[in-house]
């Protein structure tokens, strides 16, 4: 089933409705009703007939609702620099490949371990050199609670 379009008004013509007119110069015109057919033969222009979709399109009637619906704002994601990390740093960190990151992390971990080992060795050595150092009791090491002194008033 092919839907034709009325040559004058622009309405859809369903089968078995309307008429077809073949003019002397072999042009075929399809009309939805006797109204459109009559207007065509009076040489009326659809652009000037206020009820036709052609007129309404030209005069932009009924278009405002469609336009309003389409104009919803979209939030744009924007990358911003933060105090402590500039935009380049952020982008660099984001674009780092996972294996590089894990390698760097492993490296850092190993470094930290080594550092800690070194410090522990130092501390041991210090303790060995100062034998009195270990004789402090825990309380003494913590320090006594200070007496509340009478201040003014």
């Amino acid at each position: 089933m092919k839907l034709e379009i009325c040559n004058l008004s622009g309405y859809k013509i369903y089968p078995s409705r309307g008429r077809t007119f073949v003019s002397a110069d072999s042009k075929t015109y399809r009309f939805l009703s006797s109204k459109t057919e009559s207007l065509f033969h009076q040489n009326k222009k659809a652009r000037l007939l206020a009820w036709t979709p052609i007129y309404r399109r030209l005069q932009r009637k009924g278009v405002s609702e469609e336009v309003a619906k389409k104009r919803t704002r979209r939030n744009v994601k924007f990358n911003r620099a933060v105090v402590g990390a500039s935009l380049e740093q952020i982008n660099a960190r984001r674009n780092e490949k996972s294996d590089i990151r894990s390698a760097a992390r492993a490296e850092a971990v190993a470094k930290a371990k080594e550092q800690r080992k070194g410090e522990a060795a130092k501390r041991k050595a210090a303790r060995a050199n100062a034998p009195d150092a270990g004789k402090f009791s825990k309380q003494q090491a913590r320090g006594s609670a200070s007496k509340v002194s009478r201040s003014g008033r």
Binding site: P15, S16, R17, G18, R19, T20, F21, V22, S23, A24, S26, T28
Partner: protein, 130 residues
């Protein structure tokens, strides 16, 4: 709906231009597309002595009585899909007594109804069928 005294344009190259219906070869008052009628030629192209020998088609003069088949009508016709079609004028093609077209060419379009009424030769000669 062509009836007695109706004038039709002749759209073949037989030489006739306007024909007037004088008899409808149907048991009805009016004839439609694809019906045969008897016409009297009312207007014909002038035949000069020089062209008469070179013309392959028959020479038709004003006043000749011939048969014709109607190929276009201003009255709308109904198609099987419910559509109605109508043309801008009434037109016919002249025939001889054996129901063959007199002319060798057809100028202009014809209605598709002719195919279903077995005017196959005319449909094949026509430049456009609507």
């Amino acid at each position: 709906m062509i009836q007695l005294k109706s004038r039709l344009n002749v759209i073949d190259n037989s030489g006739a231009l306007v024909a007037e219906c004088i008899k409808v070869l149907r048991n009805a008052r009016a004839a439609n597309i694809g019906d045969e009628i008897v016409v009297a030629v009312k207007k014909a192209r002038p035949i000069s002595e020089k062209t008469s020998s070179s013309l392959s088609a028959a020479k038709i003069r004003k006043g000749d009585v011939r048969r014709a088949v109607i190929v276009r009508t201003r009255k709308e016709i109904r198609r099987p899909d419910g559509r109605y079609v109508r043309f801008d004028d009434n037109a016919c093609v002249l025939l001889n007594n054996q129901q063959q077209p007199l002319g060798s060419r057809i100028l202009g379009l014809v209605a598709a109804e002719l195919r279903f009424k077995n005017w196959v030769k005319i449909v094949s000669l026509a430049p456009r069928v609507v």
